[in-house]
Symmetry: C2
Subunit: 346 residues, 2 copies
């Protein structure tokens, strides 16, 4: 039993709670026998949903939590006052070592605040980044940071690059992941003050495979596996990705409906096209991990369906088995001492 | 003759010079009799291109310039030393009132530097923004600023909003254009230090129709006509727009080629789809104006073809006829005195 990866799941968060998180949790335990889920929320509501499914009872537990944090609530207040909310209760499971990870599609602000204040940062981490996987031409990249703390310092970005590299290598399975910093040109002297100051620190960092600046145009092309940027820029990238994608797909659909000829064609291309566009759909890749914490916290889209919950839960297995927090802590500590040694040497 | 709008065109700049800029210039004078073009560059090269076309000779002039500024050259140096380059010569025509506008698809850096140092800023303008039109679901929006000067101040963004509004109203023809500031949430307290400081200044500005913060997701939806942001963010938005669009369209094409059934369908949808996607193609809207200068400078894509040159040249007609620089100068001066009056009153 102790070998199971224990994932607490917020059964009350997101647009389709409790139906979709519960369904996703059931699908996850049915898909992989290494995982056990703890559904956190109102017991009667969760039980009613669970009755719909067949699943191994010993790997699905209900953890009672009576309150719900709404999306619009000021996060700091909500975390402080709603002690019996599914987010607070679920995060406490991680904090006290009763769960290895927590998955929620509830309020992003509350998840970020709770992650920092309840789960707690790994020693040495200055700021925990939110790092979604975004689809690229032939795979995925990690966009780090998209969190709520803007106006980052260079030392934050360096830690993002290191944490993102550990995650991509050991959870997503990309050997020696390429790290790029988002910039307005590829030349070393280009950029704003933050990027110019961060660039040399990344260049000399022995823990990452730094490939230099990347322009936003090259992100969908997969020019880097770990795309480092400050959270304001990351947020713009993430949301524009969704926005341009949605608008273009609606344009394509609209274009296919303009004549009888194209309508017939549309019927013929539809199945193939659907399959291809799925590979460019962010929800296929599970949620965004909040890195740098003592346990894993995964934030999924507010509009997540069962499939995204399932993928997010399964993501937690590698995270836990690969001991990501320990690896992050070691790298950061080694880096810090090597920097200090270099300073003393000068 | 003096009623004609005189547009100097860099015949030597961009990936397809001199063929495409010359062709675009000829198409522009043939399309609108209010315009006269001055093709700036090497005389023999331009003459050779012009021989291919029929056009009203009295509205096409050649202005000799022997040198060419390459894309990779450090801009400040290039502008200073290549006095007989097509960019420097073309901009001097605007500076000395011998042309109303200058269109170039040469080095962005050189165009920005030349615009500021040769053409010169309108009195009161702190920083001239580069403001491309980007396609949206049902039209276009002005993305301001995408220039090379990053780390802007709030007063810069306020001027961008005002200049952008004048341009959208009087050149593009959108009455009372909606101004939005790019942010990571729509709530007034969200944002980085720059956005938080700028927000109240935009809110109280009587010269614009401020609609508040917009998230990047809403930009392709057309949530604002004038999309205000700092140049680093603007650059990321512009390039990601291109990148996501290109990747998605290649995915759509690839998806259509996966089976015999979908290949047949692809043949049927192709013409209709092409027409629709054209409306989402940035090159349809002419180049990006560099605003806040004494004359109009338009930067077109490095990969511009004749059609983009033509559209950029035709854009200059409204700009000149509507006396945009005068309007900008008046608005900025009025705003400045109203701010000073308010301060004295307190």
């Amino acid at each position: 039993m102790s070998d199971l990866v224990r994932v607490a799941v917020d059964a009350m968060g997101g647009d389709y709670a409790p139906a979709e998180p519960v369904k996703g949790a059931v699908e996850a335990v049915n898909a992989d026998e290494r995982v056990k889920v703890q559904l956190v929320g109102q017991v009667d509501v969760i039980e009613k949903e669970l009755q719909k499914y067949t699943y191994p009872k010993e790997r699905v537990e209900i953890v009672p939590a009576t309150e719900i944090i709404e999306t619009g609530e000021p996060p700091v207040n909500a975390i402080r006052h709603k002690k019996d909310s599914s987010i607070v209760v679920g995060m406490k499971k991680v904090r006290y070592g009763e769960a290895d990870a927590f998955v929620s599609s509830g309020s992003t602000g509350a998840v970020l605040v709770g992650g920092q204040t309840i789960v707690g940062r790994i020693k040495g981490v200055e700021r925990p980044p939110l790092a979604p996987l975004i689809p690229t031409k032939d795979g995925v990249s990690l966009l780090i940071d998209c969190g709520a703390n803007v106006d980052a310092r260079p030392s934050h970005l360096v830690q993002f690059a290191m944490m993102g590299s550990v995650y991509m290598e050991h959870v997503v399975g990309i050997k020696n992941p390429r790290v790029g910093i988002v910039n307005i040109g590829v030349e070393e002297e280009k950029g704003n003050a933050l990027v110019k100051e961060t660039y040399p620190l990344l260049k000399e960092n022995p823990y990452i495979n730094f490939v230099g600046s990347i322009e936003a145009r090259e992100i969908p092309n997969g020019a880097a596996d770990v795309v480092v940027c400050e959270a304001f820029v990351g947020n713009v990238i993430l949301k524009l990705y969704e926005g341009v994608g949605a608008t273009l797909i609606s344009k394509v659909k609209q274009g296919m409906m303009t004549s009888l000829r194209s309508k017939i064609g549309a019927l013929l291309v539809k199945p193939a096209l659907k399959e291809t566009l799925k590979s460019f759909d962010a929800s296929e890749y599970g949620g965004a991990p909040l890195l740098g914490l003592k346990g894993l916290v995964v934030k999924t889209h507010g509009s997540s369906k069962a499939n995204e919950f399932k993928n997010s839960i399964l993501q937690c297995i590698s995270f836990s088995e690969e001991k990501i927090p320990q690896k992050v802590q070691e790298h950061l500590a080694d880096y810090k001492s090597s920097r200090e040694a270099a300073k003393d040497g000068v």
